[in-house]
Symmetry: C2
DNA sequence: GTGTTTGCAAAGAATTTGCAACGAA
DNA sequence: TTCGTTGCAAATTCTTTGCAAACAC
């Protein structure tokens, strides 16, 4: 399938070795909107790769983040979350269950003057509250 | 001084016991714009309270966050940061040194339709990039 | 006095590292 | 063959917890 070829291409361009584990991690990230943590990824893949270790997940994520293929989110204070959807977009986090939702709307935000001596590479709006499900059981 | 009285008042209203450690932590948080981590707070206070433990810092922070006196920031993926400046405001984080700056400008943001079934309690804009100092040594 | 908070040490989560064996190029 | 990657286990870092002693009220 095309998808696989694209992934192979992507990796090759970055000069990374194409191990099955790496392909699986990238594939998993690209096919979820769940903003998984390292543990989520590990759990999702351990059936297919019973011998895979956490270190591999962390190593791969580190490389992917370095190369800009994946974003590391600092939204959840309890652990890192990862997002392969790198178009600029925004997030909502449920303060009860921790679910993170994408917000794809555009906000018209100009870099404030007080940051004029910083190099601002991007920004995102983080909404916080209760998601639909947690609102019910509040 | 007035400051001390105010802090005592604040605590009393919340029904919290006024231990010297707690007063010191709240005082420290109120007098810094550094968005310190638990460790920063511990280090800053261990001279005055050589016997104070990390547990006390964490306990106190937990209580302060619960009562809304302090905000827990999820901006820094490597650890929790705390902010006693509870007016709604925004942040910039340096992706190199981790410094967090306040951005007090107002942004005109309306809750997007896709979050209409969530209860959005607040939002903040997070800017990311290199601070003035790190820009130089990039 | 009573019930909370402290301090300590130990446990627990999340993440990182060292290193030998492995495998993609 | 070569050098980057994997897997394991151990180490680190950050945070939480259990419990007896101390202290605010």
């Amino acid at each position: 399938m095309d998808e696989l070829k694209r992934r192979l291409e992507t990796y090759r361009k970055l000069g990374l070795k194409l191990t099955p584990q790496r392909l699986a991690i990238l594939e998993y990230l690209e096919n979820t909107r769940e903003h998984p943590s390292a543990e989520d990824i590990y759990n999702a893949l351990k059936e297919r790769f019973p011998s895979m270790s956490f270190a591999t997940v962390y190593n791969t994520l580190e490389v992917l983040v370095e190369r800009g293929l994946v974003k590391e989110l600092g939204i959840d204070p309890s652990k890192k979350r990862f997002d392969s959807f790198t178009h600029p977009h925004h997030h909502f986090i449920c303060r009860k269950c921790g679910k993170i939702l994408d917000v794809e709307r555009n906000f018209d935000i100009t870099i404030p003057a007080e940051l004029s001596d910083c190099e601002v590479t991007n920004f995102q709006v983080v909404f916080e509250g209760l998601c639909r499900d947690c609102k019910k059981t509040d």
